[in-house]
């Protein structure tokens, strides 16, 4: 988003193309800056994470900084936009600090474009978590994923999706229990049984027609943790931005590099152990052209880098899980 002079542009381009390629901060073409991740940064949200890329070491500031938080709301199916089985709604907002040169209209448009990519990718029906359903056909969770960009020092899309993935990974869906109101005493026993069944298997009860007719509401049982994680939380994709030079490409561009290399390919992959890696989104952005042969090789390379990022992220998220659960358990015991 920064504007640079023609000569600066030419200087950066030629050093990227030289042999060996040179970057201002001494990185290789496929090296990332330091990535820091912390989950659980917003206590009022059901899941949250802060990601920063390339922050400076002395005060933890600078660099690209993004916070994502997921918040759950109960929605009635069929009312307004409520959908059976729940839905995910994403939004990105930018702090004016991140883009100090943009007018507020341009900032709105930018927010909008980022939102549309995030939303199109994460709310696609093929990736929707199973446990967003509370009462089949009646109530479901609406997951609002809000991403705030505090500062952009390049490579913003990778940061957004990393934060989004971490926040969704961190998201706990409160446990719910179906309740029903019945007057007759003789049915009580049946009712408690039904509750147990429903608590144990959420989706199973959907098949039981007797259940769906009678269950009228739900309650939130008190439990030591905040709930269970989202289903299939491994499937949330990671984003990788490949900045395209005529003959090669590089990763994790800084603002200046982004301004001098206008064309980039965004690839979003998700990896699961049992299936081949899935492409979740791909976008060519910026001015300039590519061709099929190049896209083909980029997809291959992109998958390779994405797997590295994915593995690193997965490891970090599991560490965070341990750290956070530990804390939660201790807090519960000390109560």
């Amino acid at each position: 988003m920064s504007s640079i002079s023609k000569s600066e542009k030419a200087y950066i381009q030629s050093s990227l193309l030289s042999d060996p390629p040179l970057r201002a901060d001494g990185r290789g073409l496929t090296d990332f800056r330091t990535v820091a991740l912390e989950s659980g940064v917003a206590p009022l949200a059901n899941g949250s994470a802060r990601v920063s890329i390339g922050r400076n070491a002395y005060d933890g500031g600078g660099g690209t900084e993004v916070v994502a938080a997921a918040k759950l709301e109960v929605e009635t199916v069929g009312d307004g936009e409520g959908v059976d089985g729940g839905r995910v709604v994403c939004s990105v907002s930018c702090s004016p600090t991140a883009y100090p040169l943009l007018s507020s209209n341009a900032l709105d448009d930018l927010q909008h474009d980022m939102t549309s990519l995030l939303h199109a990718t994460l709310s696609h029906p093929t990736i929707r978590p199973q446990n967003l359903c509370i009462l089949p056909g009646k109530k479901s969770w609406l997951l609002n994923l809000d991403v705030i960009i505090f500062s952009d020092a390049g490579n913003i899309f990778d940061a957004i999706f990393m934060a989004a993935r971490a926040a969704l990974w961190d998201t706990k869906v409160p446990r719910t229990r179906s309740v029903q109101y019945r007057a007759k005493k003789s049915d009580r026993k049946d009712a408690t049984q039904a509750m147990d069944v429903d608590e144990a298997t959420h989706t199973g009860s959907a098949l039981d027609t007797r259940e769906t007719v009678q269950v009228s509401d739900f309650e939130l049982p008190d439990y030591w943790d905040e709930g269970e994680p989202l289903d299939g939380r491994q499937t949330w994709p990671v984003c990788l931005t490949l900045n395209l030079l005529p003959t090669s490409h590089f990763l994790d561009a800084t603002l200046q590099e982004e301004a001098s290399v206008p064309l980039k390919l965004l690839v979003l992959y998700s990896f699961q152990s049992d299936t081949p890696p899935l492409l979740r989104s791909m976008r060519l952005l910026g001015t300039g052209v590519s061709d099929l042969v190049q896209v083909k090789s980029l997809l291959k390379d992109g998958e390779k880098y994405a797997r590295i990022v994915w593995t690193a992220l997965e490891g970090k998220l599991k560490d965070e899980d341990l750290r956070r659960n530990q804390k939660a358990r201790e807090r519960f015991l000390n109560r």
Binding site: D109, H112, D113, T115, S116, A120, T121, H124, T126, I127, L265, S270, P276, P277, L278, L279, R280, S281, M282, R283, L284, L285, T287, G288, V289, S290, D291, L292, V295, K296, L299, K300, E303
Partner: protein
Amino acid sequence: MAQSAGDRRRINGPEESFSPVFDDDEEDIKLKTQRSRAAGDIRPIFLQPGLISQANGSAYIETDKTKIACAVYGPRQTKTTTYSEKGRLNVEVKFTPFSCMRRRAPIRDAEDRSLAVSIHQAIVSSIRLELFPKSTIDVFITIIENDGIEGCIASASVAASTALADAGIEMLGLVSACSAAIVGDDIHLDPSEAEARASSGTVILACMPALDNVTSVWQSGHMTADMALKCMERCHERCIDIHSIVAQSLLEHRTAA
């Protein structure tokens, strides 16, 4: 669908009204997903440049049910005071209220903008914007009927490129675009709305076939990288056909004028 209450610039209806609910919705959807042409075939294209006499250049495109009109105004003076060395390409998309199954209230919404962004991406690299300092080229697109957003983006990109050529704006090449959806294990080119909804992933490819390069790739949903490449290759083949249709229609329009 709610109408923005108290909008004094329009004639307002009741505060709230809803799309009719039909008794046999599911049957209808099943009917619509049935495809009458082969998986690799696209819908027939009707393309007519120069229908809008007020514009510098224009094109109307119809692919089966999808109907889109596009007009180009400019290059004209950029209104802001900041100097720009290159020309600016401005794409605006508008849906008519009756273009979709549900009525769209006449307010600019999220979809309009994301469509405009993807069409912008498809055509921006084909225009020699460096020739138009301090100017803006406005591309206005009205979607009269929509049968599948993917098809709309592709068709609108083709129409926009045709309209730009009709306006005599210097370009590197004509852009053609095609969409594909993965339904089951098959690749269906140029999917309709019902097909796209039933698919697990879609791809839109825009390219300049004369230069053999790609200006935009827009993939959503999920698929393997191989499948995505296959989709792109199929789209690319069709783009070459579309390119000749565009060239033909422009030629006919010129000789007729």
